[in-house]
């Protein structure tokens, strides 16, 4: 009970923002900026007017939302694993770093929409292509942070591991990974939000389902409340994912939080 109240207390800014938004948009009467109540009505219309036995979810909701979330999570997990692995290797191995770093810096500056043709060429269209686009677009924060984290491990820690002759694998899992973890988590968190963005981008071309496709569809129909409604769903989705992420982070980085606590 107490926890619920406390959580509610933390969310006080949300209704304030909503009310101000409603008032401002009602006053402005700009078609491009419908009031939140209109957006809510449109969202209800889009997703919650289905049959009762399907929890009122519409076809549009069942077709688009799970498909998108699946691709988003697949892309994020892949990017997290690959980015961390490659980042740690590049961080600890100056030679590899010298070979690959320019390519990394090069690749991450290319706007992902411009690379859609490349991924479509490799993977045609469909989930595989979309997941690849997501991975390509979001891997950089994890990779760069992991590399930086691995590179800047306190030398005393590294010396200790060397002295006791830890094997490569042990050094990786018992030293490099935990020491770089705070930075890796910073990168993962940025990537999680980027994953939503890339999910949308990957669904804009040659797609037939997904939240991004629905956004495109609403844009093509000049349905601005629909556009806004989709954006709201993206925001809510992002918020939920991020909260789950923070909960996981609190567990994994508990040593870090307490070790760095001041009184």
């Amino acid at each position: 009970m107490n926890r619920v109240l406390r959580a509610a207390g933390r969310l006080w800014a949300v209704p304030v923002v909503l009310v101000v938004w409603e008032l401002v948009t009602r006053a402005a009467e700009n078609l491009s900026f419908p009031p939140p109540t209109t957006i809510a009505a449109s969202m209800y219309e889009m997703w919650l007017t289905g049959p009762a036995e399907r929890l009122w979810l519409t076809d549009a909701a069942l077709e688009n939302i799970p498909a998108s979330i699946g691709r988003l999570l697949a892309g994020w997990v892949l990017a997290g694993v690959i980015g961390t692995a490659v980042g740690l290797v590049l961080g600890r191995r100056p030679l590899y770093f010298r070979f690959v770093d320019p390519l990394v810096q090069f690749a991450r500056a290319i706007p992902p929409p411009m690379l859609l043709p490349f991924f479509m060429a490799l993977f045609a269209i469909g989930p595989q292509m979309q997941i690849n686009v997501i991975v390509f677009g979001i891997i950089w924060p994890v990779l760069i942070n992991a590399a930086e984290g691995a590179r800047h491990i306190d030398r005393q820690y590294v010396d200790t591991a060397r002295v006791f002759g830890l094997s490569l694998k042990q050094r990786l899992f018992l030293l490099v990974l935990p020491a770089a973890m705070p930075k890796i988590f910073a990168g993962l968190r940025v990537s999680l939000s980027l994953a939503l963005i890339l999910m949308v981008i990957s669904e804009l071309v040659g797609s037939t389902d997904g939240i991004g496709f629905q956004l495109l569809d609403a844009q093509r129909s000049y349905d601005l409340p629909g556009v806004w409604g989709t954006i709201v769903v993206l925001g809510v989705l992002g918020y939920v994912l991020n909260s789950a992420f923070l909960a996981a982070e609190r567990r994994v980085l508990s040593w870090h939080r307490t070790a760095k606590q001041t009184t």
Binding site: R108, A109, F118, D154, F185, A186, S193
Partner: protein, 262 residues
């Protein structure tokens, strides 16, 4: 021995890596693994990229995009770093604002472009705003995580000498967070470039790399142009990142000297 010394050269290794990638891509096209109609040959693209380097229109577009990139990134740092410090040091502010921030953060800047078009009467302002919006997050996140990483004993040292919270922030938290912030800025730099080009592409205008892309978009071999332009975007990213790394090395010698792999 000489081989070893050559391998110590970063530009050389980078060039070798790029050449390797080029060969792989060219081979996939030449062997028909990927039809050149579906995706152009690496050599075709490289040729076009070289032509672009002498195309005055394109160069003007590049300059225009870089201008927006630089201004956007500057504003980002000026906004995100102080914001990170406020949120990182005032837990109450952080808990109050977190829901709103976490809600805003994942909203794709690209999805906001149609709405931004309807809001801004000036394209440049819109471009800068969207750059700042998108580039703020990595800087803000890295600042927050950096603040958590500050050695508490370093802070206590200053506190014990009677320095107030602001001094501790300025003299300990800021310098020891700075390397984290720098990583965030490097991440943001690429994102700023991406957003600048994407906004130009979606919103149009009179110059910019994205506008160049619209102009070539009517061409049947638009894809060659687009990939060639992408190469220049990558090169710009590579060059700017190298400059950042160079600056980091000079500024954060205390950080690298104690930690970096030798």
């Amino acid at each position: 021995m000489i081989g070893r010394r050559l391998l110590d050269s970063k530009p050389l290794c980078g060039a070798l890596g790029a050449a390797g990638l080029f060969c792989v891509l060219e081979a996939t096209g030449r062997t028909g693994l990927i039809s050149p109609i579906v995706f152009p040959l690496a050599s075709t693209v490289l040729g076009r990229a070289a032509e672009l380097a002498t195309d005055a229109d394109f160069l003007l577009d590049v300059v225009s995009t870089l201008g927006a990139w630089a201004l956007g990134l500057l504003l980002t740092v000026m906004i995100a770093v102080p914001a990170g410090f406020v949120l990182g040091t005032l837990p109450r502010a952080e808990t109050a604002l977190r829901p709103v921030l976490e809600f805003l953060r994942p909203i794709p800047s690209l999805a906001l472009i149609p709405l931004a078009l309807a809001l801004f009467s000036d394209r440049f302002d819109m471009k800068i705003t969207l750059i700042v919006y998108a580039a703020t997050w990595p800087v803000l996140m890295n600042t927050l995580y950096g603040l958590k990483d500050v050695d508490p004993l370093a802070k206590e040292t200053l506190r014990s000498f009677g320095f107030g919270p602001l001094s501790v922030l300025w003299r300990v938290s800021l310098p020891s967070t700075a390397p984290f912030v720098a990583t965030g800025v490097r991440l943001a730099s690429a994102i700023a470039l991406i957003v600048a080009i994407s906004v130009e592409l979606l919103a149009g205008g009179s110059d910019g790399i994205g506008v160049f892309l619209i102009e070539v978009g009517g061409s049947p071999d638009a894809m060659v142009y687009i990939i060639a332009t992408a190469i220049w975007a990558g090169v710009i990213g590579l060059v700017t990142d190298s400059l950042f790394v160079l600056a980091e090395r000079r500024i954060f010698r205390w950080h690298t000297a104690r930690t970096e792999v030798v």
